[in-house]
């Protein structure tokens, strides 16, 4: 690999930037097909109800209505919208409990029927003409209540509404012994927030059957090939009879790790014999697409007086909502985060996943690690306070080092916690600020820290299989074919930079084909921050093959060995004699157009299946001011140090971290996904009640990229996007704890809860 880099590491325009600033970028809702119908879904108004009868005859007779479907019209194949059963080492733990349309309503918003009509008004009118006779059943909205004898049974197979109980698959040591060795043991119970993704583009899908029976789906999937296979299984179709196209995606953050509208949309298109577009409103997106699981976590930590962590134990009740979806996988990742962040000889974790009559949950940025690490990082601060130690010192004491296993159990090539903690402490002025008076008035200052590691893919738990293809054009440019849906994180831009650097071309010489299952090689998709690290390595392998062919052709012309040649900026030249040079285009063209019969389209295919999983590291400092009269928290400053390995494009890496700061701020302070305790209906059903942070809510932010390239990464790069919130959330919680001594045990930390905590502390002190 070349020592000096000309494309990698540069702040280049993101892929698709020109289209996005001019309004030319086409998202799902912007696509119009000839003869396309508008689809709409009838959602259950009841949290739990048996469907006795559905009369759709009036809706079908309405002029302009082309299809009306209920559970009787869709395949009787149970499925799990989460793709992981196709690639998980324990597929039996991803239960299938969902139909395309329900025969029984299990939450307010369950899919009961759907229509396709010539326009939205007609579709809406048709929905109102569908008459459903429900037998309303008693419902349960709380996981503890759901487990009690006599609670309403949501799925036949699940006794006491428990879907699965399992222990951490890679526990080690003896926690009881570890707690005995400890000088101080802290145990606390924490409630995580059922926080929603709220990507700005509401969930949308188009499906169309061709005359030969082939189905094309346009949908912002993170896993086009896996979701294609899921759809094929649901409809009993061969995979090759489905083509999946992913256009520009208006934000994902894990949402499109699940199938959502595609099965209903395809069923409507099939019945109508015409293309159908299904587009959610914001309200529908909020109640009918998956928020985070609600974890009720009892975390226990044992520490010695010198700060050594002797034991960690996590016991969870997981409210996954009305369907199973990602319950097992997010919870297992949660356990990995809780048990794997620090050196600790004795760890254990167990979880009980429970059904309740609330919207089913899914995978959201951080995918369990966010919630597991948050509990751990808050416990560390409580334990540090108990033994009278600086929490930063306690982190340094227990931080992992290179060679230690990461939270996935795979040994780490590098580990920069110690350096980043020390650098961050100096930058923020930790010692001085931590020691200073909190103030005696109503405004109390606090400073907190959080650290985290995440992943570069899902090795070793999931199959991680990547492919890339590169072919040259006559002008010396190249096409890069990958199936790497760009969700806004600019993975495609990074892959272009990697390809250009590897081939000796310029950034603008690479044209990408992505997001079409017909014209790209197989790829497992975008999850667990695996895109840049894993597909990047496949791209390097493809580039090496293409470059080998290119240099062999050029070497013949110059009568030298290919090893004597180099490529830079689109020119091939002899290392010893740079005057011997030729453009890449000339070599490519000659290989295509010659009368010698020596024809070749210079190209290369590369694959990648990882052995390693280098984690990105985060260290985040937060300063807050808490008003003890109103309970309001003002975040003053956030300093984020991150080790992404090599930042392929520093600007987009910073963007991921800054965006995560905003999302964590919302998670901790403002985003309150509220379900009515009587009806089970979502109350926070638009942006006026589900409050995302706005410009004026943002604190001063500073991001430091602490780059330590990993040998196994493409030019040293690791994943970064998924784990970007994981350290921010606990650092905010810990800053509040420092300011007013209130441990945040119920997210989000609304002013009411903080006020209550402040009051309780005051009473205890008196």
């Amino acid at each position: 690999m070349s020592e000096t880099l000309s494309v990698v590491g540069k702040r280049l325009p993101r892929w698709g930037a020109y289209e996005k600033v001019t309004g030319a970028a086409k998202y799902l809702a912007d696509i119009k097909l000839p003869g396309m119908l508008v689809g709409k879904i009838l959602f259950s108004p009841h949290a739990h109800a048996k469907i006795l009868r559905i009369d759709k005859s009036k809706a079908e007779k309405l002029p302009g209505v082309e299809a009306v479907i209920t559970w009787e019209d869709v395949p009787k194949n149970l499925y799990n919208p989460n793709k992981l059963d196709l690639i998980l080492v324990h597929p039996e733990l991803e239960f299938k409990d969902m139909y395309v349309l329900s025969e029984k309503a299990r939450f307010v918003g369950d899919r009961i029927a759907a229509v396709a009509a010539v326009d939205a008004a007609t579709a809406q009118e048709a929905l109102e003409l569908i008459k459903v006779k429900y037998e309303v059943l008693s419902a349960v909205f709380d996981p503890i209540e759901a487990m009690k004898p006599g609670a309403p049974k949501i799925h036949d197979y699940a006794e006491n509404n428990v879907s699965v109980h399992f222990g951490f698959p890679v526990a080690w040591g003896d926690v009881e012994k570890g707690f005995q060795e400890a000088d101080v043991v802290v145990e606390e119970t924490f409630l995580s927030a059922r926080n929603h993704i709220c990507q700005l583009e509401p969930c949308t899908c188009i499906a169309s059957f061709a005359a030969d029976g082939r189905l094309t789906v346009w949908s912002p999937s993170q896993h086009p090939f896996l979701h294609r296979r899921k759809l094929a299984e649901i409809f009993g179709m061969p995979e090759g009879m489905i083509k999946w196209i992913t256009p520009h995606v208006g934000g994902a953050f894990g949402k499109y790790g699940s199938l959502s509208l595609e099965p209903v949309c395809a069923a409507l298109a099939k019945k109508a014999g015409r293309p159908v577009k299904l587009e959610f409103t914001r309200e529908e997106d909020l109640f009918a697409t998956e928020p985070r699981q609600k974890y009720i976590t009892t975390g226990k930590i044992g520490v010695k007086k010198d700060g050594t962590i002797t034991a960690l134990q996590e016991k969870m009740i997981v409210d996954g909502g009305a369907y199973y979806t990602h319950n097992f996988s997010t919870t297992a990742v949660n356990m990995g985060g809780f048990t794997g962040l620090y050196r600790c000889a004795n760890v254990a974790a167990e979880a009980t996943c429970v059904y309740s009559n609330v919207p089913p949950t899914g995978g959201v940025r951080g995918y369990g690690n966010h919630e597991g690490t948050c509990v751990l990082e808050q416990l560390v601060d409580v334990a540090a306070r108990k033994i009278g130690m600086d929490p930063l010192e306690m982190r340094l004491k227990n931080a992992k080092k290179a060679g230690d296993p990461s939270s996935t159990g795979i040994p780490m090539e590098t580990c920069t916690f110690e350096e980043m903690i020390k650098l961050g402490a100096e930058k923020i002025g930790w010692k001085e600020k931590r020691g200073q008076e909190k103030g005696s008035g109503t405004k109390r200052y606090g400073i907190g820290v959080g650290i985290a590691m995440d992943v570069s893919g899902a090795q070793p738990f999931n199959i991680q299989h990547r492919n890339a293809f590169i072919k040259f054009n006559e002008d010396g440019s190249a096409n890069l074919m990958v199936n790497a849906p760009d969700l806004g994180q600019n993975v495609i831009g990074a892959l272009i930079q990697i390809a250009a650097e590897s081939l000796g071309l310029r950034y603008e010489d690479i044209h990408v084909v992505s997001g079409d299952t017909d014209s790209t090689l197989y790829d497992i998709g975008q999850h667990a921050s695996g895109g840049c690290y894993q597909i990047g390595n496949a791209v390097i392998n493809a580039a090496e093959e293409a470059k080998r062919q290119l240099l062999e052709r050029a070497a013949k012309k110059f009568e030298v060995s290919p090893n004597d040649l180099n490529v830079e900026g689109g020119r091939i030249f002899a290392k010893a004699d740079p005057k011997k040079e030729i453009s890449v285009g000339a070599v490519v063209k000659e290989a295509m157009y010659n009368f010698k019969g020596e024809h070749l389209n210079i190209s290369g295919k590369g694959s990648f299946s990882p052995n390693l999983n280098p984690p990105p590291f985060s260290v985040v400092f937060t300063e807050v001011e808490v008003d003890t009269e109103t309970g309001e928290v003002k975040v003053l400053k956030i300093l984020y140090l991150a080790d992404p390995g090599k930042a392929i494009n520093p600007s987009t890496v910073e963007g991921q971290l800054e965006g995560a700061i905003g999302q964590s701020l919302g998670y901790v302070l403002t985003e309150n996904y509220t379900i009515n305790k009587e009806t089970g209906a979502l109350e926070s059903n638009n942006f006026d009640t589900y409050k995302l942070p706005m410009t004026l809510d943002m604190p001063e932010t500073e991001v430091i990229l602490y780059e330590k390239p990993v040998p196994s990464g493409p030019f040293g790069a690791k994943g970064i996007a998924q784990g970007a919130m994981v350290a921010v959330t606990p650092s905010i919680a810990n800053a509040i704890y420092d300011a007013v001594g209130v441990l945040i045990t119920d997210m989000p930390a609304t002013p009411e809860k903080i006020l209550e905590g402040v009051k309780k502390r005051g009473e205890r002190k008196r």
Binding site: V21, T22, G23, A24
Partner: protein
């Protein structure tokens, strides 16, 4: 509902379209002239993604009846660039990494244009206030504010 043909001036061009009185400006823009750069993210005026300029004033097009802007100049994101010549705000959004998924970008850029037209030299706080009604879920706004500040400077130096 009664349909009528109405004339609209959008991005400097006259468009004749068939409308009913209940059609919103964003529906009209996205449908007949096919100007889909104007986005729908909430459709109730709470996110700013549908922001367009009507006679230079930022307007939530999802909450504005099309009929009410018949005689006015409507500017959408598609009307900002001249051929391949980008507006300084568009260029700054690219240069400063202010775009991720891009769904908020058109509304954000038009809101920023309205801000800079009124105040060519805003402070960072004034930029934050000016964009205070436009939601972005991806960026944390940091690079958006950087971009608007940089565009203001470029425009003052005559980039416009």
């Amino acid at each position: 509902m009664k349909k009528e043909i109405a004339k609209f001036k959008i991005n400097g061009r006259i468009h004749e379209v068939i409308i009913t009185p209940n059609v919103t400006l964003s529906e009209l823009l996205r449908d007949q002239p096919d100007l889909t750069g104007t986005k729908h993210a909430c459709e109730v005026g709470q996110c700013g993604s549908c922001t367009v300029l009507v006679d230079g004033k930022p307007t939530l097009s999802c909450s504005t009846l099309a009929i009410s802007v018949r005689d006015k100049e409507v500017l959408t994101v598609e009307g900002l660039s001249r051929g391949t010549q980008l507006h300084p705000l568009q260029q700054a959004f690219i240069d400063h990494g202010a775009i991720q998924c891009g769904f908020c970008t058109p509304g954000m850029i038009l809101m920023a244009k309205a801000l800079l037209d009124e105040n060519p030299n805003p402070t960072r706080q004034e930029v934050k206030e000016g964009l205070g009604g436009n939601l972005c879920r991806c960026t944390g706004y940091v690079k958006i504010i950087d971009a608007v500040t940089a565009a203001a400077e470029a425009m003052r130096k005559g980039g416009k």
